[in-house]
């Protein structure tokens, strides 16, 4: 399985090429092709994880040209971790989609929906495994275009506008990404990440401003992609109008944006540059602190469940960025672990909200009254995921925040520790409001049990259980994150 690094990307792509062809005649098989392609990439991700744990970082040269002449794929523990998270969550979102889109999507859109989903997954996986800066740009564009297209799938009012605003904002980011790549190419003559890292110190000595400008462009580009606080304007509208499984995939998009930032900051620019002359990393952590507080406070004021979850996402991207900005082992571990915990928990919450809309047609939080008795299993999963997001002990959300707090203590910035704790309390408040309404709100009318269909329930429950189980056996994800962080910090 030495070809797993490329196959993990090509499986969804080839599936995506096949689906429009199939959709012309046999539309009902599209789902199975999509499921098979995503399932294959899960298998290849598992293979990658296995071989990374066994033999360390994998290098794969596409086309047989040795780097830096050809494109190199580099799978270190962190990449394998991202692959697994992305492909697993996509698989669950895809499984959930089958029943969901039958009711919620207009007729005849299933083909393009699955095509887009596979392209999005493939692009995200492509970003996760790549070791080449320009390839990162290309893969980013693939998943971005797929994400823009998935937003207006349901044809809700205002969805085209949300998609358009997302496109314009994100294209500024990706244009700057290309420009930054060009700047780095200009002063180093290479596009390979490892090669760039080796040649940047010299380039920085000769052309410091070019390198710093490139760094600024990358920060803006990935800041937009990952919805970092002042650049998050696209996110609430997108999450509000998008189908629920697409909202889950969008959380993956923001995570992969954060991952790309980690790659560029630590694997390309390197520690001396981002903490030295211009303190990029500390600035990032302060922006993240602002994101945590602002996102949580705004989430408290929302009346629409999807919008509330969206602002909560802004806050939680802040946690990931805080971990990156701390740039110490414990903090980075916490940040990367938070990628996992947030993807699982927020994925589960979005799927639950989607199930509520599917069954009861409810979006307003005030209407959640008594829902805990109508959809007990879904709402139990909601509660569990909310506990993980708020950081209540046995869950994986607690572990990631715990590591973040330890990292903040290590750097000695008590303000950041206070922000982490305050953010957790605010998050708990946000979700407690919903949960209290669900279970203790006055019930009226006949109380029917109406769980969503099995195809939707299974992904919800799986994600919720994963939040709890991975929190108890936190050593499992840490066995990948730990080595990943050590590789990043060059230890």
């Amino acid at each position: 399985m030495e070809n797993a690094p490329i196959l993990v990307v090509m499986a969804p792509f080839i599936g995506a090429y096949l689906i429009p062809l199939l959709g012309l005649w046999w539309e009902r098989y599209c789902y199975w092709v999509a499921a098979a392609a995503t399932g294959l990439s899960v298998l290849f991700s598992l293979t990658l994880v296995g071989s990374v744990l066994a033999q360390g970082t994998i290098y794969y040269t596409v086309g047989g040209w040795e780097p830096p002449w050809g494109i190199e794929l580099v799978v270190d523990p962190l990449s394998a971790f991202m692959c697994l998270v992305v492909s697993l969550v996509s698989l669950l979102a895809g499984a959930y989609s089958r029943s969901y889109i039958k009711k919620e999507l207009p007729e005849g859109k299933a083909t393009s929906y699955y095509t887009m989903m596979l392209l999005l997954t493939g692009g995200l996986l492509g970003v996760s495994v790549t070791g080449d800066l320009f390839n990162l740009f290309v893969m980013t564009e693939i998943f971005s275009v797929a994400a823009y297209a998935l937003v207006p799938m349901m044809g809700r009012k205002g969805s085209f506008l949300a998609s358009y605003r997302y496109l314009i904002l994100a294209s500024i980011g990706t244009s700057l990404l290309l420009l930054g790549t060009g700047y780095l190419y200009m002063v180093t003559g290479t596009l390979n990440m490892a090669d760039l890292a080796a040649r940047l110190p010299v380039a920085y000595a000769y052309h410091p401003w070019v390198v710093l400008a490139a760094l600024a462009f990358f920060l803006v580009a990935f800041g937009v992609k990952s919805a970092l606080f002042p650049l998050h304007a696209w996110l609430p509208d997108v999450y509000t109008v998008a189908p629920a499984p697409v909202a889950v995939l969008s959380t993956l998009v923001t995570k992969v944006g954060a991952y790309s930032l980690i790659r560029v900051l630590f694997s390309v620019f390197g520690m001396p540059l981002i903490t030295g002359a211009i303190p990029v990393a500390p600035a990032l952590s302060w922006m993240a602190a602002a994101a945590i507080l602002a996102g949580s406070v705004v989430a408290l004021q929302q009346s629409d469940i999807m919008r509330m979850l969206a602002y909560s996402s802004v806050a939680h991207i802040g946690y990931v960025m805080l971990g990156i900005g701390l740039a110490v082992q414990l903090g980075l571990t916490g940040g990367i672990l938070h990628i996992l915990s947030h993807a699982l928990a927020k994925g589960c919450l979005f799927l639950c909200a989607g199930a509520v809309m599917y069954r009861a047609g409810i979006r307003r939080i005030d209407d959640f009254r008594g829902l805990g008795y109508r959809m007990p299993l879904t709402m139990a999963a909601f509660t569990l995921a909310a506990a993980s997001i708020a950081g209540i002990p046995p869950t994986v959300g607690f572990m990631s925040k715990f590591y973040l707090a330890l990292g903040a203590m290590e750097t000695g910035s008590w303000v950041l520790v206070a922000v982490i704790v305050a953010g957790s309390l605010l998050t708990a408040l946000v979700y407690l409001r919903v949960i209290l309404l669900m279970y203790f709100g006055a019930r009226e009318g006949p109380q029917l049990k109406e769980e969503p269909p099995l195809g939707m329930l299974v992904p919800i429950v799986t994600l919720a259980l994963a939040c709890a189980v991975l929190g108890i056996f936190v050593r499992v994800p840490l066995s990948l994150v730990g080595p990943g962080v050590r590789v990043l910090l060059g230890m």
Binding site: F134, V138, E141, V145, G158, F160, I172, S175, L179, Y185
Partner: protein, 116 residues
Amino acid sequence: MSDLVIPGNVPYFISVALLLIGLYAMVARRNLIKKIMGLNILSTSVFLFLIAVADKRGGAPPITVPGVDLYVNPLPHTLVLTGIVVALALTSFALVLVIKIYQEHGTLDADRLMKL
């Protein structure tokens, strides 16, 4: 007249100017189609920059011809080719969205759309 040499990195400055114009159009112009035009100007400015990076004084176009030694750098050209395709992809999809927005709301003015 033609041997008058303009000093400095003129193409780079031109690309900076174009980038700022494009950025202005994307952020400040209220018409949605103008924003897309701005996106195109922004990306062509990046392409101009990359092509200018590739240029060598006295270099030949990057097609192997016997007896020529000095070719310009072909790598940025391929990057730009890819970039042009990506820009086309974004433009086409954005324009379709604009058509749909117009059908839904009856206006292309960003401020008016925000108020809806």
